[in-house]
């Protein structure tokens, strides 16, 4: 709406004008309010307050339940507190008055012991229930008549500062972008290869540590509709301090329908070398000559043991959402990353700074961007 002073005068001189303005204002305020409330809930792809999966939803419900109970407690305290402050301040003329020295009151003390006990018991029920619910891994090993696993199991291996996702039953290894089907339980084996990290997709469910000592297991579920609303991409984070680049140890989750997921799986399983142009071919040559290939695999079927997989698998790199989990997927950013990874992710295990000519950077970037599965 274009606003000028004359127009404003014109508008407010007619009843319809005022009504119209009020209508617009009302709409505007409703929109602002909604925007405020929504912004108060954070981003749909990241916030625990906009749950997009069964686990996060239950956790959100617990948050609301406990908040209500706690608001009740706060209200009671606030009422007594404010009353005390209003009624019992020392007044002029009472400077020498000594109030009655009350020892206590058994009745009151019993009340404010029993009520909190009841509140704690109330909160204990969902606490214990969901602890066992979220810890229920009975579906993890379940097989159908053909001896195939009924549910998808993904091995998550955390490293300084990247994530590897292995689909052991499907023979696929990938990294940084976690691809999952919506509408079913997905089980995770979590572990770390160097220091302790923690695997967290806030909008989908709580976190769990990736230990170096043992494998932790849990499940998550991705809601189809909410995933669509969030653009089918969720942000994942490392939640345990793991070194200088802890803040940059992000990953992305592509939550897609079962059909799309199956397509992706078969594309990954039937991997074919992508067609490369001349620049990309030069990049491929460099990739091998400079020993990048020693750590970075470029095929999704990876039979080397986990310990020997020293760097992210790059087989579907061209289809990734980000570079190194944080940079936008552009050639310029990719060149920046190849040249000075130490500036993007300090302390990363690739190298701090590489010496490349511009031509080499272009070639490498072109090659990596061409690594696309299923096209």
């Amino acid at each position: 709406m274009e606003l000028s002073f004359e127009k404003f005068l014109l508008v407010i001189h007619t009843k319809e004008g005022i009504d119209g303005l009020m209508k617009k204002w009302r709409l505007f305020s409703v929109l602002t309010l909604m925007a405020l409330v929504l912004s108060g809930c954070g981003e749909p792809y990241l916030s625990t307050l906009r749950p997009a999966g069964e686990v996060a939803k239950k956790q959100f419900d617990m948050l609301i339940l406990s908040s209500i109970v706690m608001l009740f407690v706060i209200t009671v305290v606030a009422i007594i507190y404010i009353t005390v402050l209003i009624r019992f301040r020392r007044k002029k003329g009472d400077e020498n008055k000594i109030p009655k020295q009350v020892e206590g009151s058994h009745k009151l003390e019993v009340i404010w012991t029993v009520i909190p006990v009841l509140l704690v018991l109330l909160l204990s029920v969902p606490t214990v229930w969901y602890t066992f619910d979220f810890g229920n891994l009975s579906g993890m090993e379940r097989v159908n008549e053909n001896g195939e696993k009924e549910n998808l199991v993904i091995n998550v291996r955390a490293n300084q500062y990247w994530w590897e996702f292995e689909y052991p039953d499907l023979g696929i290894v990938t990294s940084q972008d976690l691809v999952v089907p919506t509408g079913e339980k997905v089980y995770f084996n979590l572990f770390a290869s160097d220091v302790k990290h923690a695997f967290w997709i806030p909008a989908i469910g709580g976190k769990m540590d990736t230990n170096t000592d043992n494998i932790n297991k849990f499940y998550l579920e991705f809601d189809p509709e909410k995933s669509n609303e969030a653009g089918n991409i969720f942000y994942g984070k490392c939640a345990e301090l793991c070194g200088p680049s802890h803040a940059y140890m992000d990953f992305k989750v592509k939550a897609i329908s079962k059909e799309e997921f199956n397509e992706w799986v078969s594309a990954m399983q039937n991997y074919e070398e992508p067609e490369l142009n001349d620049v990309a071919l030069r990049g491929q040559q460099l990739f091998q000559e400079l020993n990048c290939i020693n750590c970075h695999a470029t095929t999704p079927a990876n039979s080397t043991p986990a310990d020997a997989r020293l760097a992210p698998n790059l087989s579907d790199f061209g289809n990734r959402t980000t570079i190194a989990g944080i940079l936008p997927m552009t050639k310029e950013d990719l060149k920046k990353w190849i040249k000075e990874p130490g500036k993007v992710k300090p302390g990363n295990k690739m190298y701090a700074e590489g010496s490349f000519s511009e031509e080499e950077l272009d070639a490498l970037a072109e090659y990596l961007m061409s690594l696309k599965v299923g096209e």
Binding site: V77, I98, S124, D213, H246
Partner: protein, 625 residues
């Protein structure tokens, strides 16, 4: 030695403080040592908040940021909050129970010097190649991965200051059990004494696990042991257990004395005895007990299993009950009272809503399945700052105002105190309230930066502005202290007019021997009882007689100095994992330990019988004391 205070030269005063074994002077030392580290930790906090002011700030690099928050946490817990509480306890508890000093004055001094040398050693890391960077929790996979000697400064520094804390804790336990004046039964002890007693018990049981854990980490890093090395059959999770078996009770070690302080302030300025005294004592004991049953709630996401998580979740929530009892007892103490809003009372009034906020979010985190979302996010950061600032820091500043006359004989400015409170209170809530939401929106803690486009910008901006307001508040407090020293306007024994416990019956500051005659305790709120009967002084329990006093000693200082020197030798020994061993390291280690154990030997072999203040001397001072 006489109490006649002629003007002494600076050298003499310095020597007096280096050798003192007087609990009141040791309180001064703890106070200024603690305030120094508090300011340092505060500066570190401001650096953290500047770096997080907006996305992609480049004020600190990532490695420095990690050092900054590690040192902020470690400093604030071990080198600021604990010593400041020890300052209050030292200044007040012996007076509250009618004692001449603590049970072991020599150990009291030793405790302080160990803390100070440990703290200095830890902070020297800033100029000697890098501070610790694995968080104050120093989870070992990262701590063993840390380059440089930062973590070694952490282990050695905390080991030294931890000895000091343990010694002080034992000292207070023995003091409170043995040194109470006639008539001071356990159930007549003021709440600050009670909470000191329970906190000391917690120190006794909580610090050994820390010592053991740090010992393992120290040997892993310095001498190639493999306690936490998984490849060699070690286990890294055991560190988490050891750390939190210490770490959770540590929270109560800090907050129980804070409760004690408010339990003194609220009755005083409500002019009414503490409501439900016995249930307050019971709640304190219960919190102390349950404090040891809940450590694994820091490890809900570690993968301990459903049964462990469920049990620890319920145990954690149970702590809300005794804490709630306390809150309601304080409210009911004020109910029907005659409330005078002085600065200490203002902090008490600010404490109640702030601490309730911190308490309820604590219960929410206690719900294990919900904690899977909250753990390691800014929600946690908000929660524990609500508890530690809203509880402990408010209590310390309240106690500074409240007991300043008892410690120094002067009053901090009330007017400046109000202004300080306003800045601190608003700044505190501005900084930390929004952080609950940052956590819920998906921001993990301990991040050196955050990318734009995640909805974290505004929240962090607000939080940083609040931090600066808190910075202003602390600056005002320091100015207030300096002005008070310059003005040096003396006050009498009961400057608040409504003192209830025995410390208010004695001159401000008390004479170096405290009570000329040990008082007779006739009930709870001893001094109040006497005042209500129209008396100005306590009833003595004994006739005037000679007082036996301990001699000053430089040995505590030297014992601590020896360990400080030895720590350098240990750190640069040839077997350390940083591989920068020095040829001088082993000799230095030996010399340092020789100094320490040698001084201990001297202390053990040489009789030091102290001296007596004679009856005649005390009579001469007459009305003065």
């Amino acid at each position: 030695m006489s109490s006649i205070t002629a003007k002494k030269g600076f050298g003499a005063i310095l020597w007096e403080y280096l050798t003192t074994v007087d609990h009141k002077k040791i309180a001064h030392l703890y106070l200024f040592g603690g305030l120094f580290f508090f300011a340092l930790g505060g500066l570190e906090a401001l650096m953290i908040r500047i770096q997080l002011l907006s996305p992609d700030m480049e004020f600190l690099n990532e490695a420095t940021f990690n050092e900054m928050f590690t040192m902020h946490g470690t400093t604030m817990i071990f080198l600021a909050a604990m010593p400041l509480l020890f300052a209050i306890m030292n200044a007040v508890v012996p007076l509250q129970i009618g004692a001449r000093d603590v049970a072991f004055p020599f150990l009291n001094a030793l405790g302080f010097w160990l803390f100070l040398f440990g703290g200095i050693f830890l902070n020297l890391s800033w100029i000697l190649g890098g501070a610790p960077d694995a968080g104050w929790t120093a989870y070992v996979t990262l701590a063993l991965d840390s380059p440089g000697h930062g973590i070694d400064f952490y282990t050695l520094g905390l080991q030294i200051s931890g000895f000091g804390t343990l010694i002080s804790g034992i000292n207070f336990l023995v003091t409170i059990i043995n040194m109470r004046a006639p008539g001071m039964t356990f159930m007549r002890m003021p709440l600050l004494t009670w909470t000191t007693f329970i906190a000391s018990t917690l120190i006794l049981f909580a610090f050994p696990p820390l010592t053991v854990g740090i010992f393992f980490l120290m040997f892993d890093r310095l001498f190639g042991a493999n306690f936490f090395n998984i490849a060699m059959g070690g286990n890294s999770i055991i560190w988490e257990h050891l750390f939190w078996i210490f770490g959770h009770p540590e929270v109560y070690i800090l907050v129980l004395p804070a409760f004690g302080i408010f339990s003194e302030i609220i009755p005083t300025f409500s002019r009414k005895r503490l409501f439900g005294y016995s249930s307050m004592v019971f709640a304190t004991v219960l919190i102390g007990f349950l404090g040891f049953m809940v450590w694994a709630h820091h490890m809900f996401t570690t993968g301990l299993g459903n049964v462990a998580n469920a049990i620890f979740a319920v145990a954690t929530m149970a702590i809300a009950v005794p804490t709630g009892i306390k809150i309601f007892n304080w409210l009911l103490t004020m109910w029907g009272g005659s409330i005078k809003v002085t600065v200490p009372m203002l902090y008490a009034l600010g404490f109640i809503p702030s601490f309730v906020m911190g308490g309820v979010t604590g219960v929410m985190q206690g719900m294990a399945p919900l904690d899977y979302q909250l753990h390691d996010t800014y929600f946690i950061v908000a929660h524990f700052h609500y508890v530690i600032i809203g509880g402990v820091v408010f209590a310390i500043i309240a106690a500074l105002h409240f007991y300043w006359p008892k410690m120094f004989g002067t009053m901090l400015s009330e007017k400046m105190g109000y202004v300080t409170f306003v800045f601190l209170f608003i700044g505190f809530h501005l900084t930390f309230f929004i952080q609950h939401f940052l956590g819920l929106w998906g921001m993990p803690r301990r991040v050196a930066s955050y990318l734009p486009g995640q909805g974290f910008e505004l929240g962090n901006m607000i939080s940083s502005i609040g931090a600066f307001m808190m910075g202003i508040a602390v600056t005002l407090l320091v100015i207030n202290i300096i002005i008070t020293f310059v003005k040096n306007k003396k006050v009498d024994n009961d400057p608040w007019g409504d003192g209830r416990t025995m410390e208010w019956a004695i001159a401000s500051p008390p004479p170096y021997y405290n009570f000329k005659q040990t008082p007779l305790v006739r009930g709870l709120d001893t001094y109040w009882i006497e005042k209500m009967e129209g008396k100005k002084e306590l009833t003595p329990a004994e006739p005037l007689g000679d007082i036996h006093m301990p001699n000053n000693s430089i040995i505590p200082f030297i014992i601590s100095l020896g360990l400080f020197i030895a720590a350098f030798g240990a750190m640069y020994n040839p077997a350390n994992i940083v591989k920068d061993g020095q040829p001088w390291a082993i000799p230095v280690l030996i010399i340092g330990l020789a100094i320490t154990f040698g001084s201990m030997l001297i202390r053990s072999l040489k009789d030091d019988l102290g001296y007596h203040i004679h009856k005649e001397e005390l009579e001469e001072e007459g009305g003065k004391a």
